[in-house]
Amino acid sequence: MGYQAQLRIWRGDAGRGDLADYKVEVNEGEVVLDVLHRLQATQAGDLAIRWNCKAGKCGSCSMEINGRPRLACMTRMSTFGENETLTITPMRTFPVIRDLVTDVSFNYAKAREIPSFTPDPATKPGEFRMQQVDVNRSQEFRKCIECFLCQNTCHVIRDHTENEGAFAGPRFLMRIAELEMHPADTADRREIAQDDFGLGLCNITKCCTEVCPEHIKITDNALIPMKERVAGRKYDPLVWLGSKIGRRQVKDTPKVPGKK
């Protein structure tokens, strides 16, 4: 039943570090996080891992296992061969704090720039009436557990740090989509989606969808529909003409000022 697994784990801080080799016992039914915990309790008490729920619900334990961005608590050891060496590294896109823990504050900063839910001020709490069919789309996006694996994998920032300022990443472009599809929201974030949050940088190559542990169809259901909405707002000759002759006025909601 049990066997000794070979692990290579990135250990270090402030960017400097290296892969260290370990041998750890594995029992039936275990996930990578169990094995890391055993390592922590028996051989490396100070091994830094971030985790909370151990049930795929909180999105804390994001890391890269054999080069693939995953949740450690939802990756079964049985998906690997017993003789296979597992290489475990921190998420590459975010600055490393120590070992497998990264500094994900980039994401919180982006979250704060997106204009919040803006209901009609005349609707008082308790008076909202929304049909299930109208909330289904937003609900799909609200399944997001903010593991930031999509943010980590998206090549726009993973491979090009210079885009970090201009690009909010799939998770937050999806947040914009969620609000744009919310039946009780009244703001219009289409223009800023393109101009301030970098929707145009996304080339719909779908890596965000591929890694999302919640299986949210980020690209198909959020990003592409947003691109279509933006096309309607910014690249539609009729809308453009209409706004020129003052017939159709579009009220764009501006992005929220940040610090500095």
Partner: protein, 268 residues
């Protein structure tokens, strides 16, 4: 941001490898690149060939030549009439439709993903470092033109109508009455799948209902959107299948037109 300490000096973990993935991640882009290349080469050759596109006896017209508007078109093949005189086949005979069909596929959200990954390698596969120094995505010319996809969609709807008309013609036998051959069936399947591909388009999904905030206020459009969404879930498959059926239809008609094989007739 939410951290109390100064975090600005932190850097990413320095890992030199381009990727630590151990699975054959390079396989999918390689297959995509190969298949797309074969298809484009084949289509280019036939489009500029200027022959073997029309089977007068059974009224088979390959989609690559529809509508045939050149003065050089064979009699009977020009459903919309000829728009100019005889020109060499360096000017494709279906001059009015090909750019739109091509543009539609080029700006298709699925094909974009496919060729960005397979040819431009941005990225070749997830969590595999891409080779470019800089990256501007679809924010600048020419790629910003991808935003015009929906106009290609409108055009291709018209072209699909035309393909359907071509199909109805293929149901006519040599004497003009009803007739049915293998070619007809191939064209039928092709046209049906072309419609499925076209209607499964993301722009179509947006236009028919996706743009609405309140589905409940538009039950009919919601229903259409649900159906389109179902098709849309198969968009990638349809994109590949229709490449296949297009090529097959064209090849079959070419072979019949050139006399290499004769059509298998079921009726008349």
């Amino acid at each position: 941001m939410t951290q109390a300490t100064d975090t600005s000096s932190r850097t990413r973990a320095q890992i030199a490898d381009r990727t630590l993935r151990k699975d054959p991640w390079w396989r999918a882009p390689a297959i995509t690149a190969t298949l797309l290349t074969i298809w484009v080469l084949y289509a280019t050759v036939h489009v500029f060939l200027g022959r073997w596109y029309w089977v007068p006896k059974y009224h088979y017209l390959t989609p690559f030549y529809s509508p045939c508007i050149s003065g050089s078109c064979a009699t009977g093949s020009a459903s919309l009439g000829t728009w100019f005189g005889k020109v060499p086949s360096i000017i494709p005979y279906a001059l009015v439709s090909l750019p739109f069909v091509l543009g539609f596929r080029l700006t298709c959200y699925y094909y974009r993903r496919a060729y960005y990954r397979a040819f431009w390698r941005a990225p070749a596969a997830c969590a595999v470092r891409e080779p470019h120094k800089t990256y501007t995505g679809e924010t600048r010319f020419p790629l910003i033109m991808q935003n015009l996809h929906r106009y290609f969609f409108f055009a291709v709807i018209l072209i699909s109508v035309l393909n359907t008309y071509d199909l109805t013609q293929a149901f006519r036998g040599p004497n003009g009455d009803f007739g049915l051959g293998l070619g007809t069936l191939i064209m039928l399947i092709n046209v049906m799948l072309l419609w499925a591909y076209t209607l499964s388009c993301h722009s179509c999904r947006h236009i028919t209902g996706g743009r609405l905030r309140h589905f409940s206020a538009h039950p009919v459009r919601y229903w259409i959107w649900t159906q389109v969404s179902k098709l849309n879930g198969r968009h990638m498959q349809l994109a590949w299948i229709t490449l296949g059926t297009l090529m097959l239809t064209d090849l079959y008609i070419m072979l019949v037109a050139s006399g290499a094989i004769s059509d298998l007739r079921f009726y008349n």
